[in-house]
């Protein structure tokens, strides 16, 4: 199980790196073309935006797995262990709820996105909007697994510590983009 998630994470990370490098390359090449050759690749603007959307919504799952999303932990930190665990359970229920809404909405919107095409590349927009399926299922499953561990009493101290925020991990703090 752990090995499978580890391998999946590494593949997703590779995709994220490729997307970031790809969008940087497209935008940079367009700058060079404009000054070097007074031309440009019209499709770059659009594709770079789509790479960016994929990067954001694929990356949201990995960073959720790592507890990387910003939260305000002031109040939960005032609680004892039991209070913290209750908040953790409630939070995971709220996240599963949001993921269900996102999944459902993306599902309902599928026909209108499948019938809309990107203006320059002509790509059906479901290819872009559909990434929300990955995000909602990915995050939803992780939250569900956490909820089950909480309800069955298998939640670890490390998980609780991660939930209330680790303020000594400098890498994690600078990775918030603030």
């Amino acid at each position: 199980m752990h090995r499978a998630t580890g391998a999946a994470t590494r593949i997703i990370e590779l995709v994220m790196v490729a997307l970031l490098a790809g969008m940087a390359l497209m935008v940079f090449v367009n700058v060079v073309l404009r000054y070097g050759f007074n031309s440009g690749i019209a499709i770059s603007e659009e594709m770079a935006r789509f790479f960016f959307i994929w990067l954001t919504f694929i990356g949201a799952v990995v960073t959720f797995h790592e507890n990387g999303h910003l939260g305000v932990e002031t109040m939960v930190r005032m609680f004892g262990r039991q209070g913290r665990v209750i908040c953790m359970a409630l939070t995971n229920i709220l996240i599963i709820f949001c993921c269900a809404i996102l999944f459902w909405g993306t599902w309902l919107q599928m026909p209108i996105n499948a019938s809309m095409h990107a203006p320059v590349s002509g790509m059906p927009m479901i290819a872009v909007f559909g990434v929300a399926f990955f995000t909602s299922v990915g995050i939803g499953l992780i939250a569900l697994a956490r909820l089950i561990r909480i309800l069955t009493g298998r939640v670890t101290e490390a998980e609780i510590a991660a939930f209330v925020g680790d303020y000594d991990d400098i890498e994690a703090l600078t990775g918030r983009g603030e």
Binding site: R34, N38, S39, G40, A42, E45, E46, L108, Q109, I112, N113, S115, M116, H117, A118, P119, V120, M125
Partner: protein
């Protein structure tokens, strides 16, 4: 007795409220108020506050928003036939545009739209588009050679300018002012009113009256929500959109002249394109018609050309 429920219709616009669309919405609101005895209200949102025109149109299709007033151009990715209005040098003047849009061809296009989840209540006016730039007056198409022209994210506009030798760059509207100011791009093209209200005269030198395209506004209503309306409500909306149209076009044309005066006052050097050079531009642009007839739909383009030929004969 007429049937009206209490309704608030959310209507969004990419333009600001001081645009002639504001006059049209006001007239439409007054008309709806009268017809429904104050029951149908419009909640209007301006300057893209509820998202861009394309996003709003998608919201209409999914039934999460009632109305949008949008240019036809951004919607080509959903409704390819609307590309016909992006074809360069299509209409010669406002009278032609009115006759075609309010006539049989306009109805032909409107009848296509329910299939895409929207109802077109009326054609309002965005207007003839003209070119501004910071390099030189554009008097013939060759003057566009090498010019960095911002175009909408739309292949027909891209090809129209690329075909004339310009370096056409797709860019979202929000970026245009700073890109012109910093000279990342040399030129942009829009109706006079937009050139004036977006203060492009502050960052441009020349305005060439190229009238290279005419864009209508569509007053769209959400089909899923439309289907829940009573017949009286539908009729009121359709009639009031026409009332709004007449006021909007009147305001648009009055303001267009005023805007041209404003930008001249503000220092833009304005040049007209000589008739024979205009004709050369029209001929040069014909290859764009051929290239995009397929994607727009051959029948649509042929019908449009037939309608125009018919009109010009009279």
């Amino acid at each position: 007795r007429a049937e009206f429920a209490d309704r608030t219709l959310r209507l969004s616009n990419g333009v600001n409220q001081d645009h002639p669309v504001g006059n049209g919405v006001e007239a439409m609101r007054a008309c709806l108020n009268e017809k429904s005895g104050g029951k149908m209200k419009i909640a209007d949102f301006w300057g893209g506050a509820l998202g861009g025109d394309l996003q709003a149109t998608q919201a209409l299709r999914s039934g999460t928003q009632e109305m949008v007033v949008t240019s036809s151009s951004p919607l080509v990715g959903i409704i390819p036939a609307l590309g016909v209005f992006d074809l360069p040098f299509l209409f010669a003047n406002e009278q032609e545009a009115d006759a075609i849009l309010d006539g049989e061809f306009g109805k032909y296009i409107s009848d296509m739209l329910p299939e895409f989840g929207v109802i077109n209540l009326a054609y309002w006016e965005n207007g003839f588009r003209n070119l501004t730039n910071s390099k030189r007056p554009v008097e013939k198409w060759e003057d566009l050679e090498g010019m960095r022209v911002r175009v909408m994210q739309n292949n027909i506009f891209l090809d129209t300018f690329a075909n004339m030798g310009a370096n056409a760059m797709p860019m979202s509207f929000g970026e245009v002012y700073s890109a012109l100011e910093t000279k990342t791009i040399d030129a942009q093209e829009n109706p006079f009113v937009t050139i004036d209200t977006s203060k492009f005269y502050e960052v441009q030198e020349y305005l060439s009256v190229t009238r290279h395209a005419y864009t209508p506004f569509l007053v769209l209503f959400s089909k899923p929500i439309w289907d829940t309306l009573a017949d009286d409500e539908k009729a009121a909306l359709q009639e009031c959109a026409i009332v709004g149209r007449d006021e909007q076009r009147r305001a648009s044309r009055a303001l267009s002249d005023k805007s041209l005066e404003n930008v001249k006052q503000a220092g833009l050097k304005v040049n007209e394109v000589a008739p024979e050079e205009y004709q050369r531009m029209v001929e040069k642009a014909q290859s764009v018609y051929a290239k995009h007839a397929e994607s727009i739909g051959k029948e649509v383009v042929e019908r449009m050309q037939a309608a125009l030929a018919e009109l010009r004969k009279q």
